[in-house]
């Protein structure tokens, strides 16, 4: 399988794209039909995420953080608004074009790890590279071993997921998310199925990788201890952004405005709002 998208289908660079931005969410709404009722999961959300940040989407269950993450990950489509990933507008793309975009641009870490049970840790990490035919067998092996080493599982390469603990599985998932050198890693509740200590360790690992590689990490969580480890936070409630935070030392400083234009953080790195 090749991950190379058709030339005609390559997402076009948005004319107003800011090269500093990893993600730009522009007036995005998501509505579901639940029987005869319409449920608004996201209401006209706008958010700009700079490259290299370690951003937490925080909020209670049903606040819209997973929906927003799914939109950014191009695995769900907005009812209104547009999403620009790495300078490219992904609106109106076919499922296959979006699959190709995900393969090259986005790494995923899931709450339930979502490793393939029939593959070893090595093979799980290697899996996304099948979409990158330009990577030869040797480089592929080097990359897989490198990222298994980064997550501390070099000795577990031949283990299958059922032979690993929850924390180890999530480490394999992180290695898998990074192996294709994506610009963006999205993690939906990555610690929800782990105990506190393991969850903290996973977050520390993600943060360490973020700082070492400058890959943008966006993760959703409702755990205050996990949120504390982010250096940016976006709080959602009822499908709306209600608070924006930047961590300075151990304290959060909040910037929040309900303005028509996306408000900016003081340092300009992350500019959320609606």
């Amino acid at each position: 399988m090749t991950g190379e998208p058709a030339r005609a289908g390559r997402p076009t660079r948005a004319p107003d794209a800011d090269p500093r931005l990893a993600v730009s969410v522009q007036g995005v709404s998501k509505e579901y039909a639940l029987g005869e009722e319409r449920v608004v999961a996201l209401a006209n959300v706008s958010l700009n995420v700079d490259r290299g940040v370690f951003l937490a989407l925080a909020g209670p269950s049903g606040s819209g953080k997973s929906t927003l993450l799914n939109m950014i990950g191009c695995i769900d489509t907005p009812t209104r608004g547009r999403i620009v990933i790495n300078g490219r507008d992904v609106s109106g793309r076919t499922p296959d074009e979006l699959a190709a975009l995900r393969a090259r641009t986005i790494g995923f870490v899931f709450q339930t790890f979502n490793l393939f049970p029939v593959l070893t840790a090595y093979e799980n990490v290697e899996y996304p590279l099948q979409h990158l035919p330009e990577i030869g067998r040797r480089e592929r092996r080097e990359r897989v071993l490198h990222f298994l080493d980064v997550v501390g599982l070099a000795d577990y390469a031949r283990h299958r997921p059922n032979q690993l603990s929850g924390g180890q599985r999530q480490r394999v998932a992180i290695a898998r998310a990074l192996v294709a050198h994506p610009q963006l890693v999205l993690a939906d509740e990555p610690t929800a199925n782990l105990d506190h200590r393991t969850g903290r360790n996973i977050l520390r690992l993600m943060r360490r990788i973020n700082r070492a590689t400058k890959v943008t990490f966006i993760f959703s969580t409702h755990d205050p201890q996990v949120i504390r480890m982010a250096d940016r936070r976006v709080d959602l409630e009822d499908g709306e952004i209600v608070r924006l935070g930047v961590r300075a030392r151990k304290e959060w400083s909040y910037a929040f405005e309900r303005a028509a234009e996306p408000p900016a953080f003081a340092d300009g790195e992350t500019q959320p709002g609606r």
Binding site: M1, I75, P95, F110, Q111, P117, L119, Y127, P128, H131
Partner: protein, 403 residues
């Protein structure tokens, strides 16, 4: 993809075994039922050949249509050169002459209309391996005035070996001739209708009574039944221009073709039922398996796999299952067929017959291959709708099912 497919197939050994069992049962069923039906065709064909018609008959053009009404018009006056030509054809085992007639057989008290054949006893004995003797013995060349009567004739006239009968028939000159004959045996073929009217006398006795040196047909016996069409074609070429008709046993026995057609239609229905059973069993199993794997497919698509890849993966998994199951089924089918054939299945007499037989399961390579192919194709087909359904679920909904 193949490695992934193989591992997925064997991730649930129990379920895979159940699915394979359905495929194996289907393939074995196809091989055994197909072999059984084929054996019926073969046995019926051989029975027809070796009790009545031989493999090929050569007669004057028009004999088969008008021979019963005007037999003398279609006599072959000098059969020896023709017999010599036929006997020289490779694959021909034996050539024998027959003269047919109709008349009345009298036992001293009552008459019965019969259809008689003058035959060459020794050659007919070699051909007539499917002619069962109910009483007495077969005709011999030395039986100048002997007669062998069908079971129905014997019953109608209460005849048994040793009895004397009088045959009355019209000679070629139009006179009524009689011949006193001694019953040497009572025979039975697979056809009750034939046995109710048939008698056989030595060729010379029949020719004498009919007042002709000619014959009606030349019966050809072959080494191998499957060479019939080829040799018939060769004979047609060799005998061209002599106003002779070369007819194979299938042409001569119209009911055989009809019986084959009837059984084949029944077997088609059986095959369709087995195919449906395999399809439903495999579809059910594949559906269950794919339903459980929807979050996995969601993950694959999130990581960049296209829907087409997943459909192909499922197809390959089904093909692996189909090939493995069908191969085991084919081997098992051949073994079961051989086992059943070794024991034999005692069969009651078919309709219009008094003779039962022992059925076997023919191992027909074409049928084994067809059963294998049906197993593979049915399994592959069973997986496609489920796979297509699975990839139609939006990625985000598929992933949600993992939670």
């Amino acid at each position: 993809m193949l490695k992934l497919a193989l591992r997925n197939v064997f991730r649930h050994v129990g379920r895979t075994s159940l699915t394979m069992a359905a495929i194996i049962a289907g393939v074995v069923g196809l091989i055994v039922s197909g072999g059984f039906v084929h054996d019926i065709f073969v046995q019926l064909g051989e029975s027809v050949i070796h009790s009545q018609s031989g493999h090929i008959q050569v007669s004057r053009e028009g004999f088969r249509q008008g021979g019963a009404r005007e037999p003398e018009r279609y006599r072959i006056a000098h059969p020896q050169p023709i017999e010599k030509t036929i006997a020289a054809t490779p694959g021909v085992r034996d050539v024998m002459a027959r003269i047919t007639f109709s008349g009345l057989l009298n036992n001293g008290r009552s008459d019965l209309a019969i259809n008689g054949e003058g035959v060459e006893p020794d050659k007919e004995a070699a051909l007539g391996t499917h002619l069962a003797m109910v009483a007495g013995r077969r005709l011999r060349a030395s039986d100048e005035h002997g007669v062998m009567v069908g079971d129905g004739v014997a019953r109608a006239l209460k005849l048994e070996p040793g009895d004397r009968v009088t045959l009355m028939l019209s000679s070629e000159g139009g006179a009524v001739n009689t011949a006193d004959l001694d019953v040497v045996g009572v025979f039975r073929t697979f056809s009750k209708d034939y046995d109710a009217r048939a008698i056989r006398v030595p060729l010379a006795a029949a020719q004498d009574a009919l007042g002709t040196p000619g014959i009606s047909t030349i019966v050809v016996s072959l080494e191998r039944t499957e060479d019939t069409d080829r040799i018939a074609g060769e004979l047609e070429a060799k005998l061209a221009g002599q106003h002779l008709d070369v007819a194979t046993w299938q042409t001569l026995n119209d009911f055989y073709a009809k019986t084959v057609k009837l059984y084949e239609r029944q077997f088609d229905v059986l095959r369709a039922i087995i195919l449906l059973m395999v399809l439903l069993s495999v579809a059910n199993s594949v559906n269950m398996s794919l339903f459980e794997r929807i979050p996995e497919f969601g993950t694959m698509r999130a990581l960049g796999d296209r829907s087409g890849f997943i459909v192909r993966l499922v197809l390959v998994e089904c093909l692996v299952l189909g090939v493995a199951g069908s191969a085991i089924g084919a081997i098992l089918g051949v073994l079961v067929s051989a086992g059943i054939s070794f024991v034999g299945i005692p069969m009651p007499p078919p309709p219009n017959s008094d003779v039962g037989y022992v059925a076997r399961i023919e191992i027909v390579p074409v049928l084994v291959l067809a059963a294998f192919a049906i197993g593979v194709v049915a399994t592959a087909l069973a997986g496609i709708p489920a796979a297509r359904r699975a990839v139609r679920i939006p990625v985000v909904d598929a992933l949600r099912q993992a939670i």
